[in-house]
């Protein structure tokens, strides 16, 4: 019947290729500075995986994934900042024991919503639950009212803009435009050393493969097929007895959680979090990575995040003015010419050739065996 295995052959190949690249080739060939850059690129792959489910499969285009990336990142940053702001470290402040930017803004006590972030387990839970809850509220408000398509995309952009303005405006509570900086240790472990960066890279790769497997699991359940069905014929799904809004909310929440994991890893890898990763521009860039990699392919999203960011770093070093135009042109080119991105090009042009090559060799060897066996009969 229909493929019942978890990964089909080409997906397994894709999984292994990615594993070899990320676990063996890159750590062996790159210095720690470049490897840390790769780690930074990979944080966007988490967002991409979420977008594949939500946008590629479910047809829900969110132009505000930076919100969830940021929420995950800020949750992690709040924990790290509190740890860096021990009474001993901050004894020159007028109120010791609170983050430095609060002291600069004349706050004299830790705000109530910062207090839970003293605890590491609560922080980990918050990284997953805060974005999921936020997505649930947005999703319920929009999808229950049947707001969809372009309107939904515009509203997510507005939310990204609002959150940025809120963070920048509430300097005393959020660190303002500078974000939360000067992060030092995670549960007493210094995250700024090369050794820590090396370990964090592998933690991130493991989490990434965990997310790939989780996304693949969702894709293969009936829920994954309902997402595809919903993208095409929303009414038919509704009149097959499903609450379309609930399925959209689920896809949006799942995408939010994936993005938040990426955001939390970003804070650990880069050592700070700021509103410049929350707003409209980064949110759209995240969609572009996914579109370039292929919005229907989980692996494509990872490759898209890696390749576009690599291009961004190399090109923006030489042509800082031109990079944004290049990115925009890339997006238009992909949407017009290759709607399924790199993975679509691979599946349409490269994969068939490999298959043909393999099958011709196989048939040759079968023919050889028959020829060998014939005289014996």
């Amino acid at each position: 019947m229909i493929n019942s295995r978890f990964f089909n052959r080409s997906e397994l190949l894709g999984f292994l290729a990615l594993a070899v690249l990320l676990i063996v080739i890159l750590p062996l060939s790159l210095d720690i500075f470049r490897l840390n850059l790769v780690a930074k690129y990979l944080t966007y792959a988490f967002v991409g995986i979420g977008l594949v489910l939500c946008w590629g499969y479910g047809g829900i285009l969110s132009l505000g994934q930076g919100v969830f990336f940021g929420l995950g990142g800020y949750c992690m940053a709040m924990y790290l900042k509190l740890e860096a702001s021990s009474v001993a470290n901050t004894k020159i402040q007028s109120t010791p024991g609170i983050p430095d930017f609060m002291d600069w803004n004349q706050l004299t006590a830790l705000p109530f919503f910062w207090k839970p972030f003293h605890s590491f387990p609560i922080t980990l839970l918050a990284i997953l639950l805060v974005p999921a809850f936020f997505a649930l509220i947005i999703g319920a408000a929009m999808f229950k009212r049947r707001v969809g398509g372009v309107y939904f995309a515009i509203i997510t952009q507005a939310i990204a803009a609002i959150l940025t303005i809120l963070i920048v405006g509430q300097q005393g509570y959020t660190g303002g435009i500078n974000g939360i900086t000067d992060l030092r240790t995670l549960h007493g472990w210094d995250i700024r050393t090369d050794h820590a960066k090396f370990i964090l890279y592998f933690v991130e790769v493991v989490l990434l493969f965990g997310c790939i497997v989780a996304a693949q699991f969702i894709r293969l359940t009936k829920l994954g097929r309902i997402l595809v069905a919903m993208r095409e014929q929303e009414d038919r799904v509704r009149f097959s007895g499903y609450s379309v809004a609930n399925f959209k909310i689920f896809a949006f929440c799942a995408a939010a959680v994936f993005a938040a994991i990426g955001g939390a890893m970003f804070t650990l890898e880069v050592g700070f979090m700021s509103p410049s990763f929350v707003g409209i521009v980064p949110s759209i860039e995240m969609v572009i990575y996914t579109a370039v990699g292929g919005r229907m392919s989980i692996f494509g999203a990872v490759w898209g995040a890696l390749l576009v960011n690599f291009a961004k770093t190399s090109l923006s070093e030489s042509f800082p003015q031109l990079w944004l135009f290049g990115l925009g042109a890339l997006f238009i080119a992909v949407v017009l010419a290759f709607p399924n991105g790199l993975s679509g090009i691979w599946a349409d042009h490269v994969q068939p050739r490999i298959d043909r090559l393999l099958s011709s060799r196989k048939s040759k060897s079968v023919a050889g065996m028959i020829a060998d066996g014939a005289p014996a009969e």
């Binding site: 359940t221 009414d235 038919r236 499903y242 609450s243 689920f250």
Partner: protein
């Protein structure tokens, strides 16, 4: 005629149903009753409000006033998916199937199990599901096309697939909007045969223009005109009604 009957004696009781779009009453104070195992055909000229009536029953359009009772349950207050779960199935005029999924997957989605988010995450494709899908696929002449993507099917086959998707839902009331429109003569005959088989043990509400087809299947015919009932009764009665000849059949 209906005096003394309580609406709950009927499978479907539509009474005083009105919907107005910006003042235009597409359906105007409409009342009709469908019994268990009855096949009712709705005919009428274009714009008479036939499709709107189906839209109102299945919840796609909200009624301005009036009531729709299904087995004593008020449908006008329910959401579309709740109406489906109550036992009402709807086929649309243009075939609406999931083209990026296979015939098997199309039918499987309509199988009435695991309809919540978590139910669909834990849904297992077990033998019951496979058997039922194969059974239905055989009825709709698509047994050897189970692994075909629906976008590869012909127009007629898509119509059958959608009928199959309704069948697997096992509704008590099946609503079909022009099921043979756009079909070839041989497909039409096969569809009539298919419908005759699936209408057993359930009530069916059909909109159709093909008079030959209507005569073949209808128990009772309701003629709509400008959102109101012009005539109702057996095909014989309706055909000889001068009002019907005037506005519809005479043309």
């Amino acid at each position: 005629m209906l005096v003394g009957h309580q609406p709950k004696d009927f499978l479907l009781a539509v009474s005083g149903l009105t919907v107005s779009f910006d003042g235009f009453k597409a359906v105007n104070d409409l009342s009709f009753y469908v019994e268990e195992n009855e096949i009712r055909v709705i005919i009428g000229p274009n714009g008479a409000g036939k499709t709107t009536v189906l839209d109102l029953i299945c919840g796609k359009t909200r009624a301005t006033s009036g009531s729709i009772q299904f087995r004593g349950q008020e449908l006008t207050k329910l959401r579309e998916n709740e109406i489906v779960q109550a036992g009402v199935g709807r086929k649309f005029q243009t075939p609406s199937v999931f083209e990026d999924l296979t015939v098997f997957e199309n039918l499987e989605i309509s199988f009435p199990r695991g309809r919540t988010v978590f139910g669909s995450l834990t849904f297992q494709r077990d033998d019951t599901v496979k058997q039922r899908v194969e059974e239905v696929a055989e009825m709709i002449f698509l047994k050897d096309r189970l692994n075909t993507y629906a976008d590869q099917l012909s127009h007629g086959q898509k119509q059958w697939l959608e009928i199959g998707m309704l069948l697997i839902q096992d509704p008590d009331l099946l609503m079909l909007d022009e099921p043979v429109a756009g079909m070839s003569v041989s497909e039409r005959a096969k569809t009539a045969e298919l419908l005759n088989r699936i209408i057993k043990d359930r009530s069916v509400l059909v909109i159709e223009h093909d008079m030959k087809f209507v005569e073949d299947i209808a128990h009772k015919v309701t003629v709509l005109h400008q959102g109101q009932i012009l005539s109702e009764g057996t095909m014989e009665h309706v055909k000889n009604d001068p009002k019907v000849i005037e506005v519809y059949l005479g043309h």
